[in-house]
Amino acid sequence: MPISLGTRYSTRKISLVTREENAIDNEQQLNLSNSLLTDLQGKAKKCREQYKTCTFLVDYSPAYNCHGLAFACRRTAIHDSKDLRTILEDDCYEKVQDNDVKPGDIVLYISTGDIEHSGIVVGTGGAYIVPLIRSKWGIGPEAIHHANVCPYDFTYHEFYRVVK
């Protein structure tokens, strides 16, 4: 049942569990008011202007965030780092060394224990000194970008792969 937050938007959770049947907290934002949508459009435009080397595929979508893209097929937004650690553990992800990264691996951007961003590796090696990542920026754009060209700090990162 969606929860209405004033007249601006409503939210709801979907059923999302790991292989070990641990429930993962999540939230979709729905039914945004027209003025909020216009506002988001404007901010997405600013992102395009700021990050000119990135390829933007979706301007905005409040239905999912980066973790929802990487771990829940764009169906919802996940915000809690503890839930992400549960997914990594329960769904058999293993850490991958930087020099062994392959397309399809997951990158986590970590800041003082908080997994502040994640994305899917879509290109490595060759001309790409740092991997190319496809990721969602909050409720804003979905983009293909070099791992270090985005609003998140790539200094502390980890790569993961599902191994079984």
Partner: protein, 148 residues
């Protein structure tokens, strides 16, 4: 109460849009110059009034309401904790979905003061040339830190 100009929160709105976690939102709002400015210009009581205005008052109808409330909440963290601790614990705002997490961060981090270092400007004219052979320790060295 009169709302703050919408443009005050342009930078905060951009941060809010790309935030995937409450910690990211807090950290980047705290680094935002406009949020620092709001903290400088408004008293603790005014910030609390503003949060109430944007979350339960007439300000809820404004498009920037959620971002403004988050910005004012983070601006509070620049103030002495004793001035807002009780109000923050009592704050109830369903429109701020990350309020519980931000409250926890602010209360636990307790970064209520800013430390500024006043470093004297080094110029050729004020460097004292000393022959190392003549150097003697006179008295006790006491480093000074100015806080404000």
């Amino acid at each position: 109460m009169k709302p703050l100009p919408k443009s005050t929160f342009d930078g905060a709105a951009q941060i809010h849009m790309v935030s995937n976690t409450p910690m990211y939102l807090y950290k980047h709002l705290r680094q935002n110059a406009d949020v620092s400015k709001v903290a400088d210009q408004l008293t603790t009581a005014e910030l609390l009034k503003s949060i109430s205005f944007y979350t339960t008052g007439k300000g809820t109808k404004l498009d920037e309401a959620v971002v403004a409330a988050y910005a004012c909440l983070v601006a509070l963290s620049f103030k002495p904790l004793s001035e807002f601790e009780d109000d923050l614990k009592a704050l109830d705002a369903s429109c701020l979905r990350w309020l519980p997490e931000l409250r926890e961060i602010i209360l636990s981090q307790n970064l209520s003061s800013r430390i500024e270092f006043n470093t004297p400007i080094i110029q050729e004219s004020n460097i004292q040339r000393v022959n190392p052979a003549d150097q003697k320790v006179k008295g006790k060295l006491t480093p000074t830190i100015w806080t404000g």
